[in-house]
Amino acid sequence: MGYPHPSHPRETVVLSRYFGDAGARTFDGWVQRGGYEGLRKALGMTREAIVEEVKASGLRGRGGAGFPTGLKWSFMPRDVVKPHYLVCNADESEPGTFKDREIMRWTPHALIEGCAIASHAIGAERCYIYIRGEFTEPLRIMADAVAEAYARGALGPSAFGSGKRIDMVIHRGAGAYICGEETAMMNSIEGKRGNPRIKPPFPAASGLFGMPTTINNVETLAAVPHILVRGSDWHKGLCLGSPKSTGTKLISICGHVQRPGNYEVTMGTPLKDILYEMAGGPRPGRTFKAVIPGGSSVPIMTRQEAEEALFDYEGIVAKGSMLGSAGMIVMDDTTDMVYQIWRLARFYAHESCAQCTQCREGTAWTTRILERILAGKGKQDDFQLLLDLSENMTGKTICVLSDSCAAPVVSGIQKFRSEFEDYIAGAREPSMAAV
């Protein structure tokens, strides 16, 4: 299938196979398509065996950090003397990213199945699925699917008659980008402001409600049933580049391409093929200027860097950026880079939780300095000022929100300096009124 486009022949369609197929949304529809086989298999396995299988598959977190999933699960205490929790991060709000939304809209039971397997693997007494408040349709679909999974015995006191209790609760967010950060998310579930927590303690030691907790992204969890059914060797074999990056990855492509949408590729696929073949290349008469490959929080790549990169965790790092969430923002030669970097800075200034000074002040001042430049009032000193600010916003705060604001600013100045110079020299008309 594929949504919003039919699957491209170059895609490796695993998670997105039933995107656009409304029949896959129901319990029966999912079972007819091979669903819940992974959970049935997992319920007959020990916790350790499941963790080992996922470790061997090479699956890494698909939310942005790329941490090995099996290893994360193995950090959970073996003895369940205190309640353990699983949190599914469905707060997808990284600009450029819209893949988890489609997983929940089209294949809600794939996510429920993955959550159930993970709950069993870490000994969780309950799984909270935290869905951002704006996702009204995924919220509705997921709520219906969870209710159906309970009614059909996949969830509840004895999942599929195994004697193992698996519970799942959907928790609605209320509009805060920062709640996608795992410790902020735990605070939000606890009924608090979504301020990130200092680590350590790490969630596996003291997480939600102070109990051992694992937090995984939607796409990560949705990949787990396939690993259980087809085996870790199958997953490990999905690899065209670095052996440290395995499986398929959903890429959300947006901006100035002919066919924006989600594409699922084997790790290691050349980024050029993704941009030009799958997404259809630039609009007629235009050329690409820049690509932000992993959601807005990663350094901006030039067209040349993007065209030379292999699409996997290591391949993107080798070209100076990060895979992140694989939300890819593509900008063509009509784009005013200074204006767009300002728009990103404004995003982070708005979303800062304001706990840390470097972030609260740094994101706001970065935005204001960029506004000054856009208004034609910039000075040569502003380059150093922005870079100094960014330096103070990197690696110095509780979470990485301020680092994320610094990434496009620093890479933007480095790679598109002449566009800033034009505003400062008055060679370009101001695009904003003076503040």
Binding site: G96, R101, R172, A174, G175, K192, S252, I329, E351
Partner: protein
């Protein structure tokens, strides 16, 4: 004089909240869901409603207000009959979101972002990334998520919300 606060958590709404208590180990964790219930029933969250929620969950009103004001989706002021959220973050911005905002402000009669139209029908706000960047520009009208909005589609969309 404003009318006295009519409690939200009575009857079925109260029962719904109490059923949630089983889903969480603390009552405090029911705060976000409780605030959603208030907003569903009253369309915004008033000071007396904050006091009521605090009482029901065993929290202080100051604490609840701190949480309410952290999250952008809770309204602390009355809003129009239909609440419109437009995404203008970078991916939508480069695809023309600012023109969609202009069209919405003009066609609703809301003079500025955050203001309610004189007929009380609409409030329009700009929001950060709605997570549908491949479908620019997405907007939320109440609970309806609408993709691929362009300025020319705005009048037709507004017609559906009397």
């Amino acid at each position: 004089m404003t009318a006295p606060h009519q409690p939200v958590f009575v009857g079925e709404t109260r029962a719904r909240l109490e059923r949630l208590f089983d889903d969480y180990p603390t009552k405090q964790a029911c705060l976000l869901p409780a605030l959603w219930m208030v907003q569903e029933e009253r369309s915004w969250i008033s000071e007396p409603a904050i006091e009521e929620v605090a009482g029901v969950l065993g929290l202080t009103p100051a604490y609840v207000k701190g949480v309410v004001t952290f999250y952008t989706m809770y309204h602390t002021h009355p809003v129009g009959r239909h609440f419109i959220q437009v995404c203008t973050t970078s991916p939508c911005n480069i695809c023309g979101a600012e023109d969609v905002v202009k069209a919405l402000l003009e066609k609703t009669g809301c003079r500025e972002l955050g203001a309610t139209s004189p007929d009380g029908r609409f409030t329009v706000i700009e929001v950060e990334c709605l997570g549908a960047c491949g479908f620019p520009t997405p907007i939320l009208v109440d609970d309806d998520f609408i993709e691929d909005v362009t300025p020319d589609k705005v009048p037709g969309i507004l017609q559906r919300y009397p």
